[in-house]
Amino acid sequence: MQLSRDDLVGAYRRMAIIRKFEERLHDEIKTGEIAGFTHLYCGQEAAAVGVCDHLDTEDLIVSTHRGHGHCIAKGCDVKGMMKEIYGRRDGLCKGRGGSMHIADLSVGMLGANGIVGAGAPQAVGAAIAAKLDGKGKVAIAFSGDGACNQGTTFEAMNLAVVVKAPAIFVFENNHYSEHTGVDYAVGTNKDIASRAEAFGMKAWRANGCDYFDTYETMRELLDYVRAGNGPAAIELDTERFYGHFEGDPQRYRGKGELDRLWEERDCLKAFRAKVSEAKLLDLKLLDEVDAEVAQLIEEAVSEARAAPAPDPAHVAEDVYVDY
């Protein structure tokens, strides 16, 4: 089915928010104001949005260390996120989590995760819960090409198949785990999706730098999973536009690689080209969206900067519901 005009503008807006959010962080981190490790999602926007545009708040996702995109795509409050990354009291997690631990269960976002591979089994658990509830909801684990070598990811895939849970494994293959190439670290002589297939589930492949391809393929996948066929996997071929974390010298990149990626694999550029060629949307409209988004991010940053720091007296609160 065709996406409506509103759908299209919404998808573009969400991708643009992620892009601007991350680019702004890329700049702000240089000022030294933001603490900790930050992993930017730039380049992969079509993946998160193409997947999450199918979900409502009762569909659950678990995310990774590179989680900002998933959070935004799933509906987390952008200003709350920015405050969290700035370590502010009113951040989405009261400044206790930071970039790697953003969660908001009210929108079905079960958490970014600093432990590579930890999310996949949790998604299976969430899927087991969804199956029990019988409302056709799904749980999605985002994992990187690096995470797909972690034992927990494998165990999760097998368990999901065994219990026929509506779990979906989205493998965002951005070709790198930190400084290591996917061709080295993923031993299979085929793709990641094939390995998922060998665990006994159906797997799809899509261009994770193309919103439409991701979105359409996910529709097919979700029809399959929501129909009660058990888990499924999808490998999204995508790109990381910045370093592994901010500060990474990126010596593993080939000559001209980054320029080429920005030129050929920019999902926002591709989206604009497609919708304008197909005369679905006027580019001026998207420019307006860009301007709105820029404004939103500007506000998010200045509000975060101005926001109060957490009170050290509360450092040990919220460890338990009750003790």
């Binding site: 989405l92 269960l105 089994p121 949790q122 819960a129 969804a130 219990v163 919220d318 460890v319 519901v321």
Partner: protein, 336 residues
């Protein structure tokens, strides 16, 4: 009150609570048994016999046999709990914390704090622990100290059938992750169990004996050993305050300190190697908070700094014994 053993108390509590709350699910290896076999489901009900009958009553969606994948089992429990269920995951041997620690320690224990206090993770993990069956170094360990050290987890160790019911019920009504330790050598221990709804609050130690001369603090299987020692000592007119902690996190500091303030003498009995142990933990708390009351150095009865051996003679030498407790009590009493 019905008389039953700990195994039965656990099974019955699971049965009753699952009946009451349809969000409770059970998962683990062979908790049903027989999946994918000609013999058919319900081949075992857990190798410890604590989960038979659940599958027949609550079905495959709520009583789930898993592959041998402990990280996935605990991780699935964590995710299901975030998603609003109350999973009860079984680690067939507590030693398998080795292959699943991350999901306990870095995941379920930390969600609430990391996520700004807006989530809860009411997962119960049942860990079958302890020596006494000659199961050797990888199937006999008491890992409660490790988990007690981890903020975000509650750690529970029933020593009686009544506490097995009371504490498990409490775990299933609470909203935090609970590490529920079941000692493999205690399953057969019988006792009276209150009928109907029965909850035992966490952080409330049980005064097993009141004696007034020496405070003996312990938990799990060691409680029974402490009773044996106390009985022998009583015959010699030595009165032991025997404290069964019931839960090590939260810890009933008050009960310990109150007793030590009266007795001035402390023996901690802990079925684990000595370093950074619960014995050390309790001793340090007492030394720092009841310093002026202490009339003798705290005595720690633990295993040696070695893995747990296989042979009967060696395992028996490794585990604290009633005799060692008795000796320690006499020694702290003799101290001036």
């Amino acid at each position: 009150m019905a008389v039953m053993n700990i195994r039965e108390a656990i099974n019955k509590t699971l049965m009753d609570e699952m009946e009451r709350d349809s969000n409770i699910i059970v998962l683990g290896e062979d908790v049903v048994g027989g999946a994918g076999t000609a013999g058919g489901q319900e081949a075992i009900g857990g190798i410890w016999g604590t989960t038979p009958g659940l599958y027949a009553k609550f079905g495959a969606d709520r009583v789930i046999d898993t592959p041998i994948s402990e990280s996935a089992i605990i991780g699935a429990a964590a995710g299901a709990a975030l998603a609003g269920k109350r999973p009860v995951a079984e680690l067939m041997f507590a030693d398998f914390v080795g292959v699943s620690l991350d999901q306990l320690w870095n995941q379920m224990a930390k969600f609430r704090y990391m996520f700004g206090g807006k989530t809860k993770c009411p997962a119960v993990v049942r860990l079958i622990y302890g020596a006494g069956m000659n199961a050797a170094a990888q199937h006999s360990q008491s890992v409660y100290a490790m988990l007690t050290s981890m903020p975000g987890l509650k750690v529970v160790l029933p020593a009686t059938p009544a506490d097995a019911k009371g504490l498990l019920t409490e775990a299933l009504r609470g909203d935090d992750p609970v590490m529920f330790f079941e000692h493999k050598a205690l399953y057969g221990v019988k006792g009276e169990v209150p009928d109907g709804e029965y909850r035992q609050r966490f952080g409330e130690a049980r005064m097993v004996r009141e004696g007034g001369d020496v405070t003996v603090v312990t938990c799990g299987r060691m409680v029974g050993f402490g009773e044996k020692a106390a009985d022998k000592l009583a015959a010699d007119g030595i009165g032991v305050d025997l404290i069964d902690l019931r839960t090590t996190s939260p810890l009933d500091e008050e009960a310990i300190l109150d007793s030590v303030e009266a007795t001035g003498r402390l023996v901690v009995v802990d079925e684990s190697p000595p370093r950074c142990s619960l014995a050390a933990d309790i001793s340090a708390i007492v030394a720092s908070k009841a310093f002026t009351s202490l009339k003798a150095p705290p005595a720690m009865i633990t295993g040696p700094h070695s893995p747990i051996p296989f042979a009967r003679e060696l395992e028996r030498a490794w585990v604290p014994s009633p005799q060692k407790i008795e000796d320690a009590v006499r020694q702290v009493l003799a101290f001036r």
